[in-house]
């Protein structure tokens, strides 16, 4: 049985220590906040100028001036702070965020990250803060489904999509398990219960050894 999205998010949360400053991307990464183990405290950063971001706002809590980078209304945690966009990215680029968790189109076995555009020229490109986070956060985690909808493995020998940043990905959390890019291959850190390692290797184009 592969992991569902909640299980992937929970597995990421296990690996983020107490007291970490964390930026969570859209999708599975956002769900990490809901699966932090008891007794552990993470401080969430959002690119648009806030530390101490809380959960999504309920209807009666919405403040039109308080959104996260995914444009969702959120609430403040005690100890929150606001700052402008250059200071927000100074936190990112300066190495002051311990972890960021992002989605990806492709991850190379050498840790290359491709998550801002594919080879589909019909899609308008947009990069947002992905490149800054990829080079700036001290630990870059990717959370995604291992295979694309058409069944192609997204951990690849060499990224064919345009790079977000070279060699930045430390771990990849997927429905099939947890992986670590090591350069010439990808280490299998952990597999979801009942997942077939032989099938994984067969579908992985050689990256899993």
């Amino acid at each position: 049985m592969t992991w569902n999205r909640k299980q992937i998010a929970a597995r990421v949360a296990q690996d983020i220590p107490d007291g970490a400053y964390v930026n969570l991307g859209i999708g599975i990464p956002t769900m990490v906040a809901d699966h932090v183990p008891a007794g552990r405290e993470l401080v969430l950063h959002t690119e648009n100028g806030m530390l101490g971001m809380g959960r999504a706002a309920a209807a009666d809590e919405v403040d039109v001036d308080l959104i996260n980078a995914g444009k969702v209304y959120v609430v403040e945690e005690p100890g929150a702070s606001y700052f402008h966009h250059a200071d927000s990215f100074a936190l990112i680029r300066g190495g002051h965020l311990s972890y960021c968790v992002m989605g990806a189109y492709q991850v190379g076995q050498n840790g290359d990250l491709a998550n801002w555009r594919t080879d589909d020229d019909d899609v308008i490109p947009g990069v947002g803060g992905a490149m800054d986070l990829a080079v700036g956060a001290r630990h870059v985690f990717v959370a995604m489904d291992l295979f694309s909808r058409s069944g192609v493995c997204k951990i690849v020998p060499t990224c064919t999509y345009p790079l977000t940043a070279p060699g930045c990905v430390e771990r990849v959390y997927t429905d099939w398990g947890v992986f670590r890019p090591l350069g010439d291959h990808v280490e299998i850190v952990e597999l979801a219960d009942g997942v077939d390692a032989a099938e994984l290797r067969a579908r992985g184009g050689g990256v899993f050894g």
Partner: protein, 228 residues
Amino acid sequence: MDKVMASAAAAVADVGSGSTVMVSGFGPPGQPEALVTALLESGATDLTIINNNAGAGGVAISALFAAKRVRKVVCSFPKAIESTIFDDLYRAGELELELVPQGTLAERIRAGSAGIPAFYTPTGYGTQLAEGKETMVIDGRPCVLERALRADVALIRAHRADPSGNLVYRKTARNFGPIMAGAATTTVAEVGGIVALGALDPEHVVTPGALVHRIVVGADTGPTTGAV
């Protein structure tokens, strides 16, 4: 010193066609709606817009795109879920796009206001967005040289102003306002209200008045927390 102007129209009346215009905002918070609406109504065209989202989240700025007043956009994320205006113009070849990583965009704007003509950053190195740019390996880390961004006019949104142009912001509506202030020849601030000179605590002023040239009162978005 009183920088408050009678109307948004008066505040942008001298923004000519061909101008480069910074517009604050990230999603709806921080969009200077009254100023951008006035810019649209002024008829100015052939504009270069520097804005993180190329109009996503701002009603007025989307209208500016729809009216084909924009020649070029400098932004990090032009995609808007709620609108295809940008996409249609871009595909039709009617819009030039300079795509910049969001942190590099913010730092280039900050550099424009701070008198730093260029800086090196590791962001973007080894990617399409750094093609053709100068690079240097600094302390073992490859970096890209990025230039300051400046504009003819910066249209920003703040929460409160005093008449001298001191500004405070509200929550995540702060975003690009404080760094666009001073990054243009003329900085115009749209605010939710004006307070008396001396009413803002000097410790809490985010943008000092020296960076703001004109003030216009727009819609108010919510209450002030703490002292004004």
